[in-house]
Symmetry: D2
Subunit: 338 residues, 4 copies
């Protein structure tokens, strides 16, 4: 951490600052320039509250060198985290596909889709029970009933289930859910993250629409700091000025997050594009770039879906996509051996 001081600090101010720094358990190295004095703080600076430092009278600006997250940081955990969910494995060089409808709508629908995506090669089932919708007048999901139907589909197919929590008050309903999803709009719902940190169940944490990698990893850090190390990062598109696609898939998130963190990274091409026809090229791009998994919307009847049908694949389309994914994944594995 670099601290740049204002010109001509007084001695007692400098002494105060130095003693504060010492109390944080780190060491300061000082360079006196003609116009500017610069300090390098050395030690475990991850837990220093940068805001406190910034507002000291004699401090002009502070720049971090070390990342402000520790548990999620690859520097301190060089090996990939591998998360097991029953028979499914996320992370560590494989390609795990999570598939299912945007919303759970009926028993028939969810079981039909679950059987079909399993046959095509998906190893986890997704489905929305609680749906965050921009409009209070839009369909809000089957809620408690939706969770029940997902559990029935799990019983029928053996696929572990992934579904989104929207508020802590719903937590009791998630007892038998295998992976709890935190949606993009809740990425910085810190009270929710803290409580999920007390579980020992995998959390699929989606990146917010205008959030940085560091902010995503700080949210993962919230969960991990409270004890739950089973965090799966999910890139689902960011907001840009381009409105032709719903959001813009940040494909660089794959190598970037893999450099910064040891956590697995899953790509959601369905929400990123918002257009079914683009799910295939984006999925293949993610596989080629080294993603650990994909989460893909599949519906038995997209044109009558209650939500986001535009971006859902039909079951035959998904089956074909799985074949393509396998071809590119095999190529990607040959590439890694070069």
């Amino acid at each position: 951490m670099i601290v740049i001081l204002k010109e001509n600090p007084e001695k007692h101010q400098l002494d105060n600052l130095l003693s504060w720094i010492e109390r944080q358990g780190v060491t300061a190295h000082i360079s006196h320039g003609i116009h500017q004095t610069v300090m390098g703080l050395v030690g475990d600076t991850a837990k220093i509250d940068i805001d406190l430092l910034c507002q000291m009278e004699i401090v002009e600006t502070v720049k971090r060198v070390q990342e402000p997250f520790k548990n999620a940081n690859r520097k301190f955990h060089p090996l990939d985290t591998v998360i097991k969910v029953n028979d499914a494995v996320i992370g560590g060089g494989g390609m795990t596909v999570i598939a299912g409808p945007c919303s759970v709508e009926s028993e028939e629908q969810i079981i039909t889709v679950a059987r079909s995506v399993k046959a095509s090669g998906a190893t986890l089932l997704r489905g929305g029970a609680f749906k965050p919708r921009t409009s209070p007048y839009a369909f809000q999901g089957l809620r408690e009933e939706g969770i029940k139907l997902l559990l029935e589909a799990k019983k029928d197919t053996g696929l572990p289930i992934v579904t989104e929590i929207m508020d802590l008050s719903q937590l009791d309903l998630f007892d038998e859910v295998d992976v709890i999803q935190v949606g993009a709009r809740n990425m910085q719902n810190f009270e929710l993250l803290k409580q999920l940190g007390h579980l020992n169940k995998p959390i699929l944490l989606k990146r917010g629409l205008a959030n940085t990698y560091q902010e995503l990893l700080m949210s993962a850090e919230y969960i991990m700091a409270f004890g739950n190390e089973n965090v799966i990062l999910c890139e689902r598109g960011v907001r840009t000025f381009e409105n032709y696609t719903r959001n813009t898939l940040d494909i660089s998130a794959i190598p970037s997050l893999k450099t910064l963190s040891h956590l697995p990274i899953v790509i959601d091409p369905s929400h990123a594009a918002g257009i079914a026809r683009f799910v295939s090229p984006l999925s293949l791009a993610a596989v080629a770039a080294g993603a650990d998994g994909l989460i893909i919307e599949v519906h038995n009847d997209p044109t009558h879906a209650l939500c986001d049908g535009m971006q859902s694949l039909t079951m035959p389309e998904f089956d074909k996509l799985m074949k393509k994914i396998n071809i590119i994944k095999e190529a990607e594995m040959s590439v890694k051996e070069l």
Copy 2:
């Protein structure tokens, strides 16, 4: 609402679409072009789920003409909403100043600041008890204790209090809070908004860092749709590529939101700028542009604040700013009479 159809729809598809539209209680006017068929839907389209429409097989794209919010819409409520909080009034042509520290830190601190800002002319007291912090290692607020201290300051000064809720589980603690603030990161925490819709207490709703006016008004609509019409909109800066200021104050939000909605609009120059020295010019700009209020951070000792001291004014600085605000407000009132 304009519905643009794909080329050459089949008759039964068109009939299905028309009967679905009729069931929504609106009327379709059709224009057949050479390449394209276009429908104008006329009637109350605010509650039509645009996603459902988009995914019909024969629909190419849908464009809204009418806004998707009703309760918050000035078209249906031409007169300004005026919100009374004890003796304070927000909306309707005045200038209401809400002031106080970023975080409540101690009884002495909050009472000192409360007395001072009241003497300078603030009519509501702000102070954070629950603090949303990016890092789990940063100070998280005094929480329940913070609310108690705010209530003591209220008893001491008579100023109604404004403080932020972060999760529904905290709601019981907000019984005596006068105005509940929803932070920018919670603007689309829909479960929270729904519950706040069941109160009859003013809600100060902050715009998210990357959200549009329409999304802000849809969040207001969530609260209002459940019965609580006391919503105060707050612009606190949006994320842009400029990092010199913490965020970029969107001054156009004032005339824009006043055109779109009847709800009062309050500006938060402290969080927008993140730099104390810029709070004054931004406040004066907001007054000149016709804002209904300002929410300003004031601390008795900014260089030792536990959070966001960099952007806090000292009490004398705030006192001077109030004098400036009064001068510009008076000028703005002369301007309105032209």
Copy 3:
């Protein structure tokens, strides 16, 4: 094109508008609603000046249905454009790799790199002679001398050359250049685009850092409207809030631009990432997503490059990347046959 009128237009205003519309050679279909009158304009609306229409007194808003570009539009040219540059071919299902240093620095450097990238499989040579630099104090390129050195490298290796023009006054120097590059910052330098429209030489047009697909295609339209149909689109990353990578590669640009346009699309992973280590995963992602080509920075000695060395591959790294590209390209071709 949809024209939404203000409430209660007067008859003579409506007549004026209708006669203006007729003069544009298109037909208006009118739907009268209770609150709103809506017109659908049918015919060739691409050349209607939307601004003129917007400012008519009785017009509330105008929404385009048809894209405002024609020459670049796939609707009117369903087949892929294939551009031949000597022996190299860009577009139509292949994978063309353009490689070379950010800046031309010396005869030895450019010839060394040219021979090496040719041996590895690149079919065009890139190299900057005129360099757009944010700072007037940074190296501005060898300029005229740089073009000469590129032509020597072309003579030596037979590789056609791609290099950037920064201003019309440089045009004479580009006589023997095979492909003229328009940089991201010049994407809307309309006077330059017009003049390039009078050449019959391929133009590699880079997307601006904050520009949409439509704006990119409108800039292509400028070139094409003046007669030059040899436009290669290039995605090189857009500006987002993420600063870990220099820009954010918009991988969805590949299927999106291929849907909207028949022009070939080339990806520049070097400028997008700004980090050499990420060039490989981004290149492979682009190949898997169906790009027509890649433009990659390769330097004989990146740590002593005069510009952008951080993002340049070494010659052995590029050689290895070409092998990877070939593996993924082969897989992508199998995928297409499914």
Copy 4:
């Protein structure tokens, strides 16, 4: 400038780096930490090419402390630059209003508008002769003829004129133009900036739609580095996710640019908002925040303007706005005396 080294640099690498730094005329102070070695470079670092430094093998990252611009930097020129254009003065505490039509359309139009805005209190006349339009099919301005008409309006009214250059090839036509405007899309047309740096005529430099303050000031630096110190900065709105207004006026640019630079700053509310009705509140906000000037579109007949009529004020509206501006400016001057 702070240079952070990779772990465990070898001695000869460190020596190479130190000798390179010395050759730049600055001094390095080194702090050795446990994990990281950090250097503070002290001296005139503005002209160091940060890219060169970044790509040294042992350098992990470089952070600037000092701004990379010098001529435009307030640190080295504490007093406000005041630019005189005939009788008009821009900078130094006044409020200068530049007004006129988006495009020059005819002699009658430009003279009518010029006389009217002069009578209302504008002291410079603006008008577009060369118009940057997104579509090649839209009106491109009267070009050479437009400049002639502006000069006639100047002769008639005595108002100095401001008009935009789009390409260096047009420069000869600008001999008698008083202030040359560089549009937002040309802010980083570095060849153009260099040539304008050889004139001694004021340049009104508009901020690009997605550019930072530093990038704007680096473009000003291009002009100033070649000798022309008469640069007027212009904020005209930045691109954000909000599309209700055309762009988002960044009001914080006023105090920010005044802190960073001594150059005058002018606000363009017409282009920022794109909506005539919002020009007044945004203008008043700019005055209250301390802008040096405003540039406002005024048309004799906005509903028949050939370009951007939607955002133009009528002449009576402008006259009324000038009265409002004067009221707020007077208040702002009282505020400054507090």
